[in-house]
């Protein structure tokens, strides 16, 4: 209970800080905007990377997200969460890219090498062998995620990698909450199918 309380306080403080930073950025304070970039760059970059699965491209898209966010500053409503705005722009940019460039992308297909045995993730400090297995497993999860259609992949990453709330996802995508929940559930099922070799007991 204490943890929940302190976590809520932290969220509240973060929201307050975001509002202050946005208001200062709106008046042309570049340092305030740089602080926003620093606070959210890892999350935006991770989202873009999980969507397009290409390092330099993801970095380029993430930078563009912040540029667009800067241009949209005059219309930003500080009552809404900053992450919702950022992920909305990131979502649109990534989907645009996937729509226009998809045929040129390397198709991600499963190969014989992907058929790894089920691996237990270590709880304690991993041995080098475990590290290798862990790396291979994460690689397999990345491939499986990339094979999930973008509309489901997007909500899966927002929910389970970036840990956005349903409200924030609904706000980011401009969708009703029910649709978001259904989409996440469908995405989980698709991911489970893609990871069948790893999750089957």
């Amino acid at each position: 209970m204490l943890y929940i309380q302190s976590s809520m306080n932290e969220q509240y403080d973060n929201a307050e800080l975001d509002i202050t930073l946005i208001e200062q950025s709106k008046t042309g304070n570049e340092t305030a905007f740089e602080t926003i970039v620093d606070r959210y760059r890892r999350r935006v970059l991770t989202y873009c990377h999980r969507m397009v699965r290409h390092e330099s491209l993801a970095e380029d898209l993430a930078q563009e997200v912040f540029v667009r966010f800067y241009q949209a500053l005059p219309r930003i409503d500080t009552r809404k969460a900053v992450v919702s705005y950022l992920f909305r722009i990131a979502h649109n940019r990534c989907l645009d890219w996937l729509r226009t460039r998809r045929p040129q992308m390397q198709t991600l297909t499963r190969t014989e090498d992907d058929d790894q045995p089920t691996v237990q993730l270590p709880d304690a400090r991993p041995t080098p062998e475990e590290e290798v297995l862990r790396g291979e497993l994460l690689e397999a999860v990345e491939k499986a995620l990339a094979a999930v259609p973008p509309r489901y992949r997007s909500v899966l990453v927002m929910r389970h990698v970036e840990e956005l709330s349903y409200e924030e996802i609904a706000e980011a995508l401009g969708l009703p909450m029910g649709t978001v929940k259904a989409r996440i559930h469908r995405g989980r099922e698709k991911l489970q199918q893609e990871l069948r070799d790893f999750v089957n007991l």
Binding site: F66, L121, V141, H160
Partner: protein, 196 residues
């Protein structure tokens, strides 16, 4: 409460999100213990979600923020140039419109002749649109409207017609400016961006 397999599977999504009531959760867990198929299926789903949650974050390069700020400044400069272009276009439109108003005001005595000439031209346009097909029907409709407007203006007498034409030119100018601003806004922010 007795839970069947179909309900268990429907509830599994709510169970993962912790959205079952205490009573539902209890029934869910009971079914999970007794039904092997449902238990295995649910554990597979849980494993998949847990694996996804273990994906690490991606760290950006050291120059990420600096690059963003450089791009922001470039975009701001481009925006400034576009605003200047737009401002010059608006100025030219306003000057032309104002000049037209002055000319019309000073040459009031010429108005009947001007209107007569324009009306003839517009009638030709209407006829032309009939020949050229439906793509020019809009021009035809506009021409008809203009002709009706001028005829009405003529019945008001010289000063009335001059005033009406003056109002018309001003209205047209406002519409042109509004259209220009809307077009620029759409081009800059894109329709898909909605509020951002």
């Amino acid at each position: 409460m007795r839970v069947r397999c179909s309900r268990f599977r429907r509830w599994s999504r709510f169970a993962i999100d912790g959205e079952l009531s205490a009573k539902e959760r209890e029934a869910f867990e009971r079914h999970r213990l007794v039904c092997g198929d449902c238990r295995v299926e649910f554990e597979r789903l849980l494993r998949a979600v847990n694996l996804l949650a273990r994906l690490p974050s991606v760290e950006s390069g050291a120059s990420f923020t600096a690059n963003v700020m450089a791009r922001v400044n470039r975009a701001r400069q481009a925006q400034g140039e576009e605003a200047r272009r737009k401002a010059s276009w608006v100025t030219v439109t306003m000057v032309v419109a104002a000049s037209a108003c002055v000319v019309v005001g000073w040459s009031e005595w010429m108005l009947p002749a001007i209107v007569s000439t324009m009306s003839d031209g517009l009638v030709m346009l209407v006829k032309g649109s009939r020949v050229l097909g439906p793509s020019l029907t809009l021009i035809g409709a506009l021409s008809a409207l203009l002709r009706a407007f001028f005829e009405t203006a003529l019945t008001l007498g010289r000063s009335g017609a001059s005033y009406a034409l003056y109002v018309y030119v001003l209205t047209l100018t406002i519409i042109l400016i509004a259209a220009s601003l809307t077009r620029n806004a759409r081009r800059r922010y894109g329709a898909s961006m909605l509020c951002v």
